[in-house]
Amino acid sequence: MIEFKNVSKTYEDTGVRALDNVSFFIDKGEFVFLVGPSGAGKSTLTKLLIKEETPNSGEIIVNGFDLNSLAKNKVPYLRRSIGMVFQDFRLLPNKTVYENVAFAMQVIGASRSEIRRSVPNVLSLVGLAHKARMKPSQLSGGEQQRVSLARALVNKPPVIIADEPTGNLDPDTANEIMQLLCEINKRGTTMIVATHAKNFVDEMHKRVLAIENGILVRDEEEGVYGYDI
């Protein structure tokens, strides 16, 4: 469950008003596309969700955490409830696929037996069980994105935020990743996907939040991309 109430954010150093009085509510288990031109405020919105930035005004509630009153040392617990997937995968090149996923459990203090149980499960969910011993450099872009998705999933967060997850992938691979995101969503995980991939947004008929110049201009069930590329 995610709620934004009249959220505004201005970057003090540049004076840019990145978000202007934005309000929306995302229910548990929803699939939401976040669209808008580059620099419209999508990244700011995701940064606010994980409290990498704080708003100048307004209220943000994520998975029961009230972000305005959330102490700095509790931020890690907020982040454990959100899986992050990035356009550039952000895998550790010197660790194997297995270790990259296990790392996410290790650094939140999971026990070895928990790690040994969960990592193979999540790797087979993304279809990479057979490549567990490989290094990221031995994988294709799509496979690397699956690893990063597995890492986001392994701690079983209720929400996944994917920032341009198909931005670096060819159309076929992008399609596979998008299908995988849908499948994970069907198992109950709330999915927020920031994207420029018009074809997916138009074909998948999911909810669309469109941001322009920091203002939420559209919030449509079964929406479309609505911009020319």
Partner: protein, 298 residues
């Protein structure tokens, strides 16, 4: 706290990996810790010995009161009873000039028998009282009172020597503390740079740790342990250097100092080893803490 123990193996492994990853900076850091602690150790050993010498001399603090060479033994004894009545005098022990000559003969080499014969013919030594005190701090007072007694020719006391030694001890204490502060600051600076490099080379990992929800302390601990290890290794090596060095010059030093006892290696080993370990680890932790504050924005 429970988090530290549960993940201790992970933190230590990461800390050691950090040390090995920047081996050149690691060596530089350990080197500077060794240099600092060895220099500091030399001062500490010097200070401890001066202190102990001071104590030994204090214990021996006696006042010698000399009578004129031609004074009759009865007069000498009369002065002796006056001396023993002075405040803070525990005992006034008479050494006659004959006894003193005998002592002198025993201390002198056989080759110089001629000298002794001359001395025996005309003994130039004087009868003397040696005063032992109940409170050595009153030595000057007692010496002054003794000098006032009629017939006393000369009074000597070692208070001046003790003062000199105390002031040397004090100077060494001050110099050591300043030296320690300066050397520690340099070491902390170098260690913090080493840790900073470690953070830089692991910035990707740190970034991932942050967004998967590792706590701040989970991210910090490996760097703190890295700093502690740098300090501890430096302390261990410098303890060995200092103790080995001290043991090897101890014999020569003791010979040179004669009957004033120099501290044995065993007397100082605890101070050096425990002190160095605590200081090394402290310096290492301070270095990491500085880097964490400046560069690890978690």
């Amino acid at each position: 706290m429970a988090m530290i123990f549960r993940n201790l193996k992970y933190f230590v492994t990461q800390g050691v990996k950090g040390l090995l990853a920047n081996s050149l900076m690691t060596l530089a850091s350990i080197g500077i810790v060794i240099a600092s602690l060895v220099i500091f150790g030399i001062f500490v050993l010097f200070g401890l010995n001066i202190n102990s010498i001071g104590n030994q001399i204090k214990d021996q603090c006696e006042i010698n009161v000399y009578m004129p060479n031609d004074m009759s033994r009865d007069n000498v004894r009369a002065i002796g009873s006056q001396l023993s009545e002075i405040n803070y005098v525990k005992e006034a022990q008479l050494y006659t000039k004959e006894e003193r000559l005998q002592n002198y003969k025993e201390g002198i080499h056989q080759d110089q028998a001629e000298v002794i014969t001359t001395l025996e013919e005309d003994n130039p030594l004087r009868d003397a009282y040696v005063l032992s005190l109940t409170d050595v701090r009153k030595a000057n007072e007692v010496a002054a009172a003794a000098a006032k007694i009629k017939g006393v020719e000369e009074v000597t006391n070692r208070q001046d020597l003790i003062k000199t030694i105390l002031s040397i001890t004090n100077t060494i204490k001050h110099v050591s503390i300043w030296l320690l502060l300066i050397l520690a600051a340099i070491s902390i600076f170098i260690i913090s740079n080493t840790i900073k490099l470690g953070m830089f080379s692991r910035r990707k990992e740190i970034n991932i740790m942050k967004f998967v929800g590792a706590t701040n302390w989970f991210i910090r601990w490996p760097f703190i342990i890295e700093g502690m290890l740098l300090g501890a290794v430096g302390a261990a090596i410098s303890s060995v250097i200092v103790m080995f060095g001290y043991s090897s010059i101890l014999g020569t030093l003791q010979e040179f100092m004669g009957n004033i006892r120099i501290l044995e290696a065993g007397d100082v080993s605890n101070i050096i080893i425990i002190g160095f370990t605590l200081m090394g680890i402290g310096i290492g932790m301070a270095g990491s803490a500085m880097s964490i504050r400046k560069h690890l924005h978690v």
